[in-house]
Symmetry: C2
Subunit: 340 residues, 2 copies
Amino acid sequence: MEKKKNISIKEISKLADVSVATVSRVINNNGRFSEETRQRVEQIIKDYGYTTNMAAKSLRMAKSKSVGLIIPNIDNEWFSQLTLEIEKHFFENNYSVFICNTSQDEAKEVAYFKSLDSKMVDGIICISGIEEIPTNILTRDIPIVCIDRKPKDHSNAYYVESNHYSGGYLATEELIKQGCQKIAIVSRNKTLSVNKQRLEGYRQALKDYGLEEIKDLQILLDVNQANYEGSRVAINQLIKNKVKFDGIFATNDWRAYGSLIALLENNIEVPKQVKVIGFDDIFISQSSHPSISTIKQDIPTLAKTASQLLFDLMNDVAINDEQKRYIIPVEVIRRDSTKK
Amino acid sequence: MEKKKNISIKEISKLADVSVATVSRVINNNGRFSEETRQRVEQIIKDYGYTTNMAAKSLRMAKSKSVGLIIPNIDNEWFSQLTLEIEKHFFENNYSVFICNTSQDEAKEVAYFKSLDSKMVDGIICISGIEEIPTNILTRDIPIVCIDRKPKDHSNAYYVESNHYSGGYLATEELIKQGCQKIAIVSRNKTLSVNKQRLEGYRQALKDYGLEEIKDLQILLDVNQANYEGSRVAINQLIKNKVKFDGIFATNDWRAYGSLIALLENNIEVPKQVKVIGFDDIFISQSSHPSISTIKQDIPTLAKTASQLLFDLMNDVAINDEQKRYIIPVEVIRRDSTKK
């Protein structure tokens, strides 16, 4: 490749094998990169004689007082509640929040990243969804904060999540403490780290309390089945197959509700014969009949932590670079479905 | 006021007592205004010697391939489903949709209109919420389509809604046909046209079937009470007060579900002793136990009609100016809660 004078940031990033955002941070001497990265980028800049376009730079630095919020499904109550909390926080700070719904479609997510970039948002919050973040398509150095997803490219992304492992452990422990011995788990297969961690917590609790893992009781549904209806069908099948169980840990409240309805349809009394616990503490868990015990994720703290972090990053407040991950505790909400 | 040369569009709009958007349409000779308005605006332009700034005009005409979507509450399943349908439609046409949540707060709505304007969206869809649309703050002539709200300023806004009157009528008629004689309505007071129309339909059906209106059975809740919990409390109160009724028309499914739970708590059998019907056909009405009959609004048609209309307006497709209002039929979904 011939050395040319008008090399772009994008080309520098390719040559240095780092993201565009990282090149931008090195140029702007904006903390978050390793010494080795700095040297590599600066060498390329020197070799190719890159000079910062000051007009473009000032444009890049202009604040639009708006942020983008990428969410997988706004018709999922848990996501929408989190969105509302985040929106409230930014609005109080005179920021507009543009919500982009991706339906967990990778092409849509990429399109929205591009679109938010061209709309000059000052930062982006990503909730869950796919784990590969298309940061390489951003032309500006804007910070990204993720909730409930562990970004694969860590360079420019910070993340905040509930303690899902602990949630899985506590849910299972609650069932054990209320006398359950054969505990089913209803979750999603081939899946996000969130569900993996919940499953791990379940397995560890069984182990710690000396209960054996029963493969037939690990119901890991496909993405399209991992909902109310799929869970209802799966528990009906379990009953039909005469598999014995006395407790169900469903890894979200819709799955718990589907499981509960299946039990009621088979005249199995809840909590007397089978106890049920869910995850998320959404409205259906409070309002079902009987009400469903669940693991409450602390939405206000998740929202506040993520918002404040993005706010600090956008406003160049010094952030401890070591701390890129924030884990928020969860708690058991005991309701009728796990009473003795 | 002294006549000056560099008058702005905003000043012209004030002098002519029309919106900025209307002035812009007159200047661009873009159909949607009355002859009288044209004359008034053109006279002011002549008097003050306004000349169009062509650069600004071209900027105004540039397409950003994005639209704004204003919604009152994304954590309401009905709104979020409608949003998803609209989003899908635009995404298929290579448009990005920026969702703005207002929490029915007027200040927020105004802020989002401004922000969408400065982000150069090509058009806006407003779902429900307040009925006064702050179109006067828009600096560009972009079309607006409303769903389920009747904009007070009709100049630039088109609207699409379900037939709420017919919905109220059909719901009440369903209860009457299943044998109910004393039918309560659980709705919202001091309210959007949507709820007014549903109440009117209820009253007309009672009248047509020769049933008297009973004031004690018209439960019109405050905004903050017009939800699951408020409805549950209200029906409990009705039972405590020994008011007789054998049917409940709740003007949304959450109110229907709250009413149902109150009946179950009082060991009143549904549908045997009291029948219940809701409105919207959201998930809770299918998945409750017993399932709840409801009035289904045709979300795909609402979304498609509104999206296509905005799409045509943005792309200067000729629209019949008489047709500013589109009314979409609704239908009864019969489930267990109104069975004989």
